[in-house]
């Protein structure tokens, strides 16, 4: 975990694009919020690996959001139940259900659909907020942050050693 955090900080302080980090957060969030063993998560994993998305940010976001997902499960279930029960959507669900492909993606499961809908709805917000935070951090906070005594103290411990090792 320390290694993962160190890698993330390195990415934060490196020349990695702010969008690369923001998208990593979004992908990690979707994968963390939705049940793990679903086909759409394979697609997300493929995107995260194939494109130059920051993997440390992706993994960290996935780990954190998996924890939050446990708290949000009842909400995901309610949202998914409401959508799947909605009368006007029944023809759509019926046609999707008759297709083997859509059956395999398991969108007829309340938590899967609810969590995916919520995370997709939240994705643009998280992307923009992440981009702004990373940008602001690099412009204004990074130098000030490094001068903090507590940071100086941290640099003296094992975590800093791992971080330095990574830097090579």
């Amino acid at each position: 975990m320390l290694t993962l955090l160190a890698r993330f900080l390195r990415a934060l302080n490196s020349e990695s694009g702010a969008w690369a980090l923001a998208i990593a957060f979004v992908l990690g969030m979707i994968m963390g919020f939705t049940p793990l063993w679903r086909v759409h998560n394979l697609v997300i994993l493929l995107i995260a690996l194939l494109f130059r998305v920051n993997l440390s940010g992706f993994i960290l976001s996935f780990v954190i959001c998996s924890g939050i997902a446990y708290l949000l499960d009842p909400l995901f279930h309610q949202v998914g139940f409401a959508i799947l029960s909605a009368e006007s959507w029944q023809p759509v669900w019926q046609s999707m259900y008759s297709s083997a492909f859509w059956r395999v993606v398991q969108f007829h499961h309340t938590i899967t659909l609810g969590s995916l809908v919520i995370s997709l709805a939240f994705a643009p917000i998280l992307a923009l907020v992440s981009f702004w935070v990373v940008s602001q951090y690099r412009q204004r906070i990074q130098t000030w942050f490094n001068k903090l005594k507590i940071v100086q103290a941290l640099k003296a411990n094992r975590f800093w050693a791992i971080y330095s090792d990574l830097r090579g």
Partner: protein
């Protein structure tokens, strides 16, 4: 110097290799651990449908043909977590690849062996969702627990009776006081015998004295008129007295009748209360044979009680409250699409004591309307250790309104031996041996049972012991039984049917128990009767004379009224006028 800016590609091609490696790893992992994954999935899915923990011993699969074998399935009973609702030794079935690729689970044939119902678990199973209604298995045992096998207490019965005798005496006393005041008041207004005698004398004097002049005649007439006015006033007083006294006598007589009847009424009430105390015992058939009947019903209604709830939950997403984080799987099949889940044929072997009952099934699904056919089941067994013949046929279909189905059965020569009917300290009864024949039919319409059955017990030998005279009546009746026909009615909701059992034993026992109760309570009841009679008799003896006096007064009053009436009707005026006329004639004739 020329600078070259190298734009990095948006793709990270080694990432693709990593992705493929991960997919291969996941596939290999799933392949290798498929049995464990299937085991876990089945435990969760069936557990959710069942509403309580499901344990599976082992799952094995085979790819060609696609076959799954599951052993040692324990399905916890949600209402009794210490017991399994069903225990299945082994289930194996061949899945259709074609349907599986379309997302449907279709088994061509399933064979299940070693099925037992209501078996004890090694440790209590976790309950996910409590059943809405308590299981009917407790129905008869609850009644047995409520059964009062102690001798009814006369003292308790007397204490509970709102005694009429003291109340009737109090009421009669109050009525007597009131009526006495009324009678005394009118009695004072009555003309005495002396008054009546003086009236007669006055009247005699008026009619017999010498009248010489019209002035004397006029004087007497006026005197007579005054007398008549007094007669009329006295007659009115007499009439009022008669009216008041008559009503007083009538009311007192009515009150006295109540006092006379009250002791017997109270005795009857005590008897009724003692009989009420034994009312539960008149359902002794249900209490003693109900548990056994229920166990048989468990087997007879197995298809409904075990399969139906799971099928219902499969069909209704909202019927299941999912465990946290589990969610619900919706089904959106068209009306004419094949069912999501279907077992075309199944053969199940139920272990019943030392023998095995084969039940054959067709079309097990929760989507009967899509399939267009009901689930059909039949069982047949002959000449084994437990019975000489068992035939059972039925069908079951889940519709939008609920379950529809029907079933009929015939069982002959079931050997019952060493079966405890009651293990209470007051009454211990054991069915040593008996032969049971049973036949019945049942219909299920919109989830409601309606059916009946007859259970014929023959060659019965019952051993019964009792520790009091009361329970001894039951013990004796049971021990003398050789055969017993029990009629059973089954009605009510699918998961909470109401069984009612009745037999001639109930009526016979009811009468015997009442007699026994009254015999046992004889001395106390006699003392109670004497006490009530003493209270009632004492009051009546004290007040009967007064009633007699009033009656006598009434009789006297009638006599006086009669005399007054005669006085009133006296033709006084005519007599005197005739005398005066004669007198005047004599005077006038002498002068002519």
């Amino acid at each position: 110097m020329k600078q070259h800016t190298v734009r990095r590609s948006a793709f990270r091609w080694p990432g693709l290799a990593a992705f493929l490696a991960i997919v291969v790893l996941i596939t290999a992992f799933s392949w290798l651990l498929l049995d464990s994954i299937l085991k876990w999935s089945l435990e969760r899915t069936i557990g959710t449908l069942n509403g309580a923990e499901v344990n599976i011993g082992r799952v094995e699969h085979q790819w060609v043909p696609l076959t799954i074998r599951v052993t040692d399935i324990q399905v916890t009973d949600p209402s009794q977590p210490d017991y399994n609702r069903v225990l299945i030794g082994d289930v194996s079935g061949a899945l259709s690849w074609e349907q599986l690729l379309l997302g449907r689970v279709h088994f061509e044939e399933v064979v299940s062996t070693g099925i037992r119902v209501h078996s004890e678990r090694q440790s209590p199973g976790e309950v996910y969702q409590l059943p809405e209604k308590s299981e009917v298995g407790d129905w008869f045992s609850d009644k047995a627990a409520d059964l009062n096998l102690s001798l009814p207490s006369v003292d308790d019965a007397i204490a509970r009776v709102d005694l009429h005798t003291p109340a009737a005496i109090e009421s009669a006393k109050a009525a007597y006081e009131t009526q006495q005041q009324r009678v005394t008041a009118v009695l004072e207004q009555l003309p005495s015998k002396e008054t009546l005698a003086s009236y007669e004398e006055e009247l005699k004097a008026l009619s017999e004295g010498e009248v010489k002049t019209p002035a004397q005649l006029q004087e007497r007439k006026e005197h007579f008129a005054k007398l008549k006015e007094r007669f009329a006033a006295d007659k009115k007083a007499l009439e009022e007295f008669k009216e008041v006294t008559s009503s007083a006598v009538a009311e007192l007589k009515a009150e006295f009748e109540k006092v006379k009847a009250a002791p017997q009424h109270d005795l009857d009430r005590v008897g009724e209360l003692m009989q009420l105390n034994s009312e539960g015992l008149t359902e002794i058939t249900a209490v003693l044979f109900g548990e056994q009947a229920r166990r048989w019903a468990d087997y007879m209604l197995l298809a409904y009680e075990q399969l139906a709830p799971m099928l219902q939950k499969s069909a209704d997403e909202t019927a299941i409250k999912p465990p946290r984080g589990e969610g619900i799987w919706f089904s959106f099949t068209d009306a004419d699409a094949p069912p999501d889940f279907l077992i075309k044929k199944a053969r199940t072997e139920f272990a019943v004591g030392p023998t095995v009952l084969d039940v054959n099934w067709q079309n097990i699904t929760h989507q009967h309307e899509q399939l267009g056919q009901p689930t059909v089941f039949s069982a047949r067994g002959e000449n084994n250790a437990l019975w000489s013949l068992l035939q059972l046929n039925g069908e079951l279909a889940l519709t939008a309104e609920g379950f529809d189905g029907r079933q009929q059965w015939r069982v002959q020569g079931v050997n019952l031996a060493q079966t405890a009917l009651s293990e209470r300290s007051e009454l211990a009864a054991t069915l040593l041996s008996a032969l049971l024949d049973s036949e019945g039919n049942i219909a299920l319409r919109d989830g409601q049972f309606d059916g009946n059955a007859i259970l014929r017990l023959a060659d019965m030998a019952i051993e019964a012991h009792a520790d009091n005279e009361w329970a001894q009546v039951i013990a004796t009746a049971l021990a003398s039984l050789n055969r017993l026909d029990i009629n059973a009615d089954i009605k009510g909701a699918l998961m909470n049917p109401d069984f009612s059992l009745r037999s001639d034993l109930d009526r016979q026992l009811g009468q015997a128990l009442k007699t026994a109760a009254l015999d046992a309570a004889g001395p106390k009841l006699d003392a109670f009767k004497q006490k009530l009679n003493a209270q009632s008799g004492g009051f009546l003896a004290e007040h009967q004379d007064q009633l007699g006096q009033w009656s006598q007064l009434l009789s006297d009053a009638e006599g006086r009224e009669q005399r007054l009436q005669e006085l009133l009707e006296t033709q006084f005026k005519g007599q005197l006028e005739d005398k005066v006329k004669d007198k005047l004639k004599g005077l006038l004739g002498g002068n002519e």
